[in-house]
């Protein structure tokens, strides 16, 4: 009985779609596009009527390395879940390809002259997937939750000291201090995804967190743990699209297997492949390889409070001793590209190659500086007052691209100039403990941000007491400059200020820069309407197969 009803329902739906939904240029074709699909799969029947080419694929299958975790936005901490959540949830603002905030659930916004009050004018008539309305109440509820003890991002959201609902579709946030990076810091990370309040109130928490209900272009459909996630098109989405019927994620942890699945058509997109595979793909006209530098910087942090990096000459010397551009080129290209700044090259704060002062590769100069600092060669290594110039290099393993291998080469090159070192490869949890406690001389570390605002990097990594300033960097002049840059609202002025800041950072020689880790996508060449950028890569609303 149930079956009959559901078939009737599907037939009605099909009729409705044919009647009003089909684009004018589309030939009516009642034949299912994918005969391989089982006939009793109801969703397949309806999907045929809305696509432009009836024979084209309408499901987009993406390989994931890890399974999703959970979808309470204020607790999403992993990239996988974040990427899937992006399809279902939306934020007040989203990003343009060059990283600037653009309207999403908020159609427009205003910032008061003192930079403290941000008023958002919300999009009207938007509904969550459960049919409940999106309005200022939901926004207030969400950001209050984001500030509560349930949130993993309280610190970020604590910048909001007050929220005032002006009317159903207008809400004003008051900040504790002017912050030009407010959108990048608060509105656009994972915690900014706005879920359905009504669903939260009517569902058990754990069901709610595993059956995400947002306003986005795709809706939650099915999850087979450890294997597959399926999303279906949201027919009521306020925007244009999506053209796809389904987005399917398959959990395939092994990179090798991902490659095979791509080549055999099991998946449509992978985001990881070995250098050798990449070369083969690039020669293949049926596949597209897209490599985009991302806001992910990698460097060795030199702990300035520990021997021997309390001496600036040694910090310079280790930079001269290592031929990082060649190492990165040989071991980690094209995924990682050498960069001579803490700021990502893809962001607007980077002044371009060759602008910033940088240290090259010159082992003799390194030796000179070390001797200048009072060390002398005893046997194979430098010593001062019986103390060996000895460095322990903390390194994670497979957390950042080729992290351990790069560390091994660095260790090798150190030895060539007479610096004794060993690589301490640590398991991630223990590594984080030691690095957070500044218990290291030198460590490989990455800094990943989804936004391009330079303050996301500088204020965290090199401002005195910054949250990611594990190597105890401190320069009062730089701090002052960075504060000024954050208060400033004019982007051109900010650009100049951050260029100056990067000069100061490089002149302090607090790091050995490694580079930026790119994002990579490989998919069939007949994919259209998708243009990933470092700022926004998961927008599949215009994507279709030709």
């Amino acid at each position: 009985m149930k079956r009959v009803l559901s078939i009737l329902f599907v037939l009605m739906l099909m009729f409705a779609l044919v009647a009003c939904g089909a684009p004018a240029d589309e030939p009516a074709d009642p034949e299912p596009a994918e005969p391989a699909e089982p006939a009793d799969d109801e969703e397949d029947e309806e999907e045929e009527e809305v696509v432009e080419d009836p024979d084209a694929k309408t499901d987009w299958v993406i390989a994931l390395e890890t399974d999703i975790v959970q979808f309470d936005p204020i607790q999403i901490g992993d990239a996988t879940t974040s990427g899937v959540a992006f399809q279902m949830f939306e934020r007040l603002m989203t990003r343009s390809p060059d990283g600037q905030p653009i309207p999403c659930l908020a159609e427009d916004w205003e910032v008061s002259d003192d930079g403290l009050e941000w008023t958002f004018f919300l999009r009207q008539g938007v509904e969550f997937h459960d049919g409940s309305p999106f309005n200022a109440d939901v926004v207030e509820w969400h950001f209050k939750r984001a500030q509560s003890d349930d949130s993993n991002f309280q610190a970020q959201f604590s910048a909001i000291v007050d929220m005032e609902i002006e009317d159903d579709y207008t809400i004003t946030f008051t900040l504790d201090e002017p912050n030009a990076a407010f959108p990048d810091n608060v509105i656009m990370p994972n915690g900014g995804f706005i879920p359905s309040m009504e669903a939260f109130e009517s569902m058990e928490y754990e069901d709610w967190a595993m059956e995400p209900i947002g306003t986005g272009p795709f809706m939650w459909s099915e999850w087979v743990q450890g294997q597959r996630v399926e999303l279906v098109k949201n027919p009521n989405w306020w925007g244009d699209g999506p053209k796809l019927e389904k987005v399917i994620y398959r959990v395939i942890p092994e990179a090798n297997t991902q490659v095979i699945e791509l080549e055999t058509g099991g998946v449509d997109m992978i985001t990881r492949a070995s250098v050798q595979d990449l070369e083969r793909f690039e020669a293949n006209p049926d596949l597209n390889v897209i490599v985009t530098p991302a806001y992910r910087s990698r460097q060795y942090e030199l702990n300035v409070e520990r021997f021997p990096f309390d001496d600036k000459r040694i910090r310079e010397a280790v930079n001269w001793a290592v031929d990082m551009p060649s190492i990165v080129e040989a071991v980690a290209s094209p995924i990682t590209q050498y960069a001579d700044s803490l700021l990502p090259m893809a962001g607007w704060g980077y002044p371009g190659e060759g602008v910033l002062p940088n240290i090259g590769y010159d082992p003799d100069k390194a030796r000179e500086l070390i001797e200048d600092a009072g060390f002398e060669m005893v046997g194979d290594y430098y010593e001062k007052d019986g103390e060996r110039l000895s460095i322990e290099i903390h390194s994670p393993d497979h957390r950042y691209f080729m992290d351990k291998d790069i560390s091994e080469v660095v260790q090798n090159q150190f030895a060539q100039v007479g610096i004794e070192s060993n690589v301490k490869v640590m398991e991630w949890g223990a590594f984080l403990d030691e690095v957070r406690a500044s218990e290291f001389q030198m460590t490989f570390l990455g800094w990943n941000q989804s936004g391009a605002d330079p303050s996301l990097f500088t204020d965290a990594k090199v401002m005195t007491g910054g949250r990611g300033n594990y190597a105890n960097h401190s320069d009062p002049e730089l701090d002052e400059l960075l504060r000024e840059a954050l208060r400033e609202q004019d982007i051109d002025v900010r650009k100049e200020l951050y260029e100056e800041a990067q000069f100061m950072i490089n002149e302090n020689v607090w790091h050995i820069f490694v580079g930026n880790e790119s994002l990579m996508w490989i998919h069939p060449a007949n994919v259209r309407g998708w243009d990933p950028s470092p700022a926004i890569s998961g927008d599949y609303t215009q994507l279709y197969f030709e």
Partner: protein
Amino acid sequence: MNVLIRLTRHRSARVGLVCLALIFGMAAFAPWLAPEGYDDQDLMIRLQPPSSEHPLGTDQLGRQLTSRIIWGARISLQIAFLATGIGLVIGSALGLTAGFYGGKLDRFIMGLMDVLLAFPGILLALAVVAVLGPGLYNVMIAVGISGIPRFARLVRGSTLSVREKEYIEAQHALGARDLGILIKHILPNIIGPIIVLATLRVGTSIMQAAGVSFLGLGAQPPLPDWGGMVSQGRHLLRSEWWVGIFPGVAILICVFGFNLLGDGVRDALDPRVRIAKKGQGPKEEAATPS
């Protein structure tokens, strides 16, 4: 002496000895055998396939696998002997104590051993390394610990059967000290099965240590630890298979050698009991896939 002669006549022991001679030879003469050091990197020749120039190919940092595998014999043998040693010494001491004194102490010790045995060996080793932190010596300790209960069980059983013998009781009557009796009279009588278990255990130790390395918690780079090398090669398997496959062959030869030797030692020590029976002698310990 008889035992040694029997051992050299034992067919599988001979094959085992040949394998081990190869491994020990590599370890002992590494500086002369290996054309390069184990960390001689050359980024210009990364990931070269096996050829006359690079006999077993090169790894992702342009290091010769041949040289790394030869040097790696030292690491593997170190792990093998020290880890087995830890299990042997502590396990035997616990087993002797439990078997000799009996009663509550026995129940306590063996209860503890049962708890350890209830863990799958590899998980116990992994958990211990996670606590201690990665590194060659910590891996040895972890693998050693997971071997303790096996020795304890065996030694306790043998001690129990020897304890009641008349000459031991005579020693008690003579007022000999417990420790003296344990070392002078009991230990020599149960040493056979301990040796057999130890020989077989060496292979298991190597495999377990390799397993721990494979899961990413092994010796620190650039040490050429075979298990770690397989683990690295895993990511290159599709195109540069040699990086992961050859070190595995080395593990195989080494463990194979110890297992054959173990079989031989068991037969040589007690030619009548070719077949291990329940409760007597170690069960077929060789067979412990990590």
